[in-house]
Point group: C3
Chain length 260, copies 3
């Protein structure tokens, strides 16, 4: 199997396609995430046209996952009950061949979380969304592009690595998404919202590499548009929801910056 | 017992009375709701002049309910511990003859939630706040006005059915509240906040039909005022809190639209 | 040991020093708080330049506390699991001589919470942040300045008592922080955010009295600046995050109002 590195226009056109299909089909996206991030993440999904659900209860998470088109699992809530819920949710997703995204938040702070994240990677998420510190805790290596690509290839998934420049890799293709704004790191749950958008994109785009790239392009461009209206991190968190809602193909084509 | 369908002016004047009494008496409203909705719901109650509390712990929920003037129960958080808390809270409310509202969120997604909601209806909430899909899951019927009224009559409660036009019914009277804005469906927890306002209204208005109508008129008018200031769902969620805070009789009388 | 009551300029210069060190060193602050308050509290800490973490799981809270520079414990989430987490977190803090703040929220509503709060005070927090009703429930006395100072002295901690005028006392020194705005009482989690800022200040200021005073001065001035931009409690909650982010020494020196 050989994919050429997509040209700039291909990635941006793919993002436009994802955006259109999200608005048109309004997929259901179930999120298992920490209580800090739930509200902002739900609002980010709603701003994109999706229908979020967020229940964490082991008794019913399978029913919600089964009724959804994609799943996002964030490790920020990590007690015994949540681990049970994640386990049930991931198995329900596998059974239905539903794509899911893993966001191994803060695994650099706790060895138990890192061990649990490694088990989850073995259960075959379609994509991982994380930052460089978390990647190092997961993979045991630095985040040179080569090591990220090797990890993606070995685990048969797409990686969306957030940073000053975002990196997307699936072991065959690589793309740098260069949009974004420093205020994105000053609002809690921005990474979780990005992971939820990767899940949403997977609901309408079978190619995990394209889906991950589309999500990072979308949130990066929205962040830049929001920064032009914001007076600080409080108004930025509000403005990025408005920007996700009003984002269209023309804005994406004009402002998206990607590189191989 | 026979109540005539209230004239337009009666319903709006009743809403003005509820608004004034909320500002004057600042009732305590306890909410058992999901963690996605807690922050926005608390802020909506504070904007109306109420004092919210939100503890979910079975150990102390009875003390909080006993110290409150109304209770709102939302099924969005639904694990074993929450079911225990709801059970304790509802019994504490019954003991003190405290009015309570049931919001059976997402019962269409999970048969267990629907079954639990039916048990709760039998424990006599003063009001139900829900949407058409949830009503269908609860009542087993379509949401024609006649079936809603019949369900209200059979269960001796008021129903506040949210939709493009809201319907309020208690089996004898019916009212359509026509305010609102499409952005209200693009912000998470808006329905939960509406349910909390029904509970707040019940704290100062013994007639559950009038209380439910007042709450829907208030949030619908606030939503319309907020939409004139908003650039999207992010700024709308902020603006509706400002609008709830600044709402007064004159604004209600000028903008409220109700029909039998 | 004798400290003179600090002059106005001393307290404000100490606040400027805390602000500078927070921006420069970006301390990690772990918060155990209720799910209503988590998002706003995390964003307030981020706006000040800190790195918040919020996990509540007993399995890993010790690892997060050990990696942090200060801890804030808020009793708003109060079930068996949370009590266990608080116990573990406080012991981890004591072991590392990490400063921690107790916010005994709503202990006036529940005798069990009040009893637990008294146990925690015996474990030697560096500071208490609370309001007059909570102080009365804790100390069994009114909140005359003399009784607050006596409680602080007896328990060897600093007290930050929020009210129309804030009072800071450590049993030797007393200070009144006169900034703030009525809208601060109309937004949920504002008190919890203030407690988190006391914890953040303790991460960079060993004198608990100075740290508590700095935090109250900072949030009070930010609240006043935010009120000039706000149209109600919704936009105020956004504007105070912007104000915390943009706060600088010049603004503090121009606007801070303190009295002995």
């Amino acid at each position: 199997m050989h994919h050429p590195t997509p040209a700039r226009d291909d990635a941006i056109e793919a993002a436009c396609g994802v955006l259109q299909r999200l608005r048109a089909t309004r997929p259901r996206v179930h999120c298992i995430t920490n209580t800090v991030a739930q509200n902002f993440t739900a609002n980010a999904l709603l701003a994109m046209g999706c229908v979020p659900s967020m229940t964490l209860a082991p008794e019913e998470v399978a029913a919600f996952v089964t009724g959804a088109q994609a799943l996002m699992v964030n490790l920020g809530t990590f007690d015994a009950e949540r681990r049970a819920s994640i386990d049930i949710a991931v198995r329900a997703a596998a059974e239905r061949k539903l794509p899911w995204v893993l966001d191994p938040v803060f695994i650099d702070r706790s060895a138990e979380r890192a061990a649990f994240a490694r088990q989850l990677v073995a259960l075959r998420p379609a994509a991982l969304r994380l930052n460089a510190t978390e990647f190092a805790a997961l993979g045991g290596t630095e985040t040179a592009p080569g090591t990220v690509a090797a990890f993606a290839r070995a685990n048969k998934l797409a990686i969306a690595l957030s940073g000053e420049t975002d990196l997307v890799a699936d072991g065959v293709r690589t793309l740098r998404a260069e949009n974004g704004h420093p205020l994105m790191a000053r609002v809690t749950a921005m990474g979780c919202a990005a992971s939820a958008l990767v899940a949403a994109s997977l609901a309408v785009e079978a190619d995990a590499f394209c889906a991950a790239a589309a999500a990072l392009i979308v949130i990066g461009v929205a962040g830049e548009r929001a920064a032009t209206k914001a007076r600080g991190p409080g108004s930025f968190a509000v403005a990025i929801l408005d920007a996700l809602d009003s984002l269209d193909d023309e804005t994406l084509r004009r402002h998206a910056r990607v590189a191989p």
